[in-house]
Amino acid sequence: MVEKISHLDEQQIIESVINASGLDAALRRHLFECSACRAQKLALEGRLSRLGQISREQTTVEFRKPEIFQRKAGIFKRTWEISPVFRIGVVFASLLALLLTPLTLRRDVIYTLDKVYQEMRQDDEFMHEIEKLEDNPFPRTYMEIAAPGDTDTQSPGALNDGRTQDGGPRNA
């Protein structure tokens, strides 16, 4: 007995375009036998295929190809190729430098203070010498020539004590 089937409706035509194997066997047989239904299906498939074809043609252009490894080689890959021992060494050196920097700075400060104290001591000594020179500008030898045995002449005011340079009275 031959099963009588009417033409495929719109829904079945669309279903046959989406997935022909999903159609009932009888409907598939009808689709094969009926030129009108086949024409409908082919027309729809043709339009869809044309849409895809034109869209692909219109979007097929020359473009910049993606380059991920050139970037990687420049930034990351070379870094990864460095041996782990070397990397650990670099990290330790950086840490050490970071830790030593304040100490170096402090040592510098201590050194500077020492220098200041030393300069202050030198200044004191120098001032002391100046004071001594103010008290007695001439060496002792010269003072003995000027007034042998006279210890008073050692004072700067000795010339103003009413005597001449040879020891006689000024008004004699």
Binding site: N19, R50, S55, T60, V61, F63
Partner: protein, 235 residues
């Protein structure tokens, strides 16, 4: 069921010869089996750290990924940047891909996510008045050396306007499914994997989208009659 050359197959259940009307199998991968095996091997090698294998994968897929992005964004420079970004992400997250035979849907998903990010960012910038949303192109940039004639330009413009009108009639999912199927040439299984939906859900969305496409008589007429651009143009 035995297959015989010419797209016909013999069904032992019904005892008759059935002809397949589709140009290719609906549920078979859109890449050949040999190419599919090659891709799986390359993916395994790339996951093991073989940069050369990843470069080969990139060479195999870069054109279709660029086209996918360019079709949806229509700015060549932005599409180039996004394509670059897609492959950077793929390289970064490839070790997380568990099933190597799903590389193509996985890559397409990354690309679609990037396209959505791009549109979201543009909308946000337009909201703050930094860019004008109307700047979004109706048709893709033409290559400078292609220099189409005025008539070609008009027809091209007409085509893209109609495509835009059609896509406005679709829901988001219908749009994705429809264009992945007919523009990006993916099969139902790949679309389901790309969009993380069941195959029956994909079929439902595709059914609705095709119905809307069929109702769009202006685009149908255009596709049947007016388009003579591209490679089909008579010299």
């Amino acid at each position: 069921m035995n297959r015989i050359p010419g797209g016909a197959s013999i069904s032992y259940a019904t005892g008759c010869v059935l002809f397949r009307m589709n140009t290719r199998e609906d549920f078979e991968p859109s890449v050949s089996a040999a190419q599919g095996d090659e891709v799986v091997t390359l993916v395994e090698q790339a996951k093991a750290g073989d940069a050369h294998a990843f470069e080969k994968l990139m060479a195999l897929h870069q054109d279709e990924i660029f086209r996918l992005v360019f079709f949806r964004i229509r700015s060549r420079m932005d599409s180039e940047d996004i394509t670059q970004d897609v492959f950077m992400s793929a390289f970064k997250y490839l070790p997380q891909l568990k099933e190597s035979d799903r590389f193509r849907p996985w890559l397409y998903r990354i690309a679609l996510n990037r396209v959505h990010d791009f549109h979201r960012k543009n909308k946000l910038l337009a909201f703050f008045g930094i860019t004008d949303e109307r700047d979004q192109r109706e048709m893709p940039d033409v290559e400078p050396h292609r220099d189409p004639s005025a008539l070609d330009g008009v027809i091209r413009h007409e085509f893209w306007v109609r495509v835009k009108q059609l896509s406005k009639r679709f829901s988001k999912m219908e749009r994705e499914v429809f264009f992945l199927r007919f523009v990006d040439d993916m099969n139902l299984r790949e679309i389901a994997l790309t969009l993380k939906r069941s195959e029956s859900a994909v079929k439902t969305h595709l059914y609705r989208a095709i119905r809307k496409f069929k109702e769009d008589s202006a685009l149908s007429d255009f596709l049947e009659g007016e388009w003579h651009g591209g490679k089909d143009q008579p010299s």
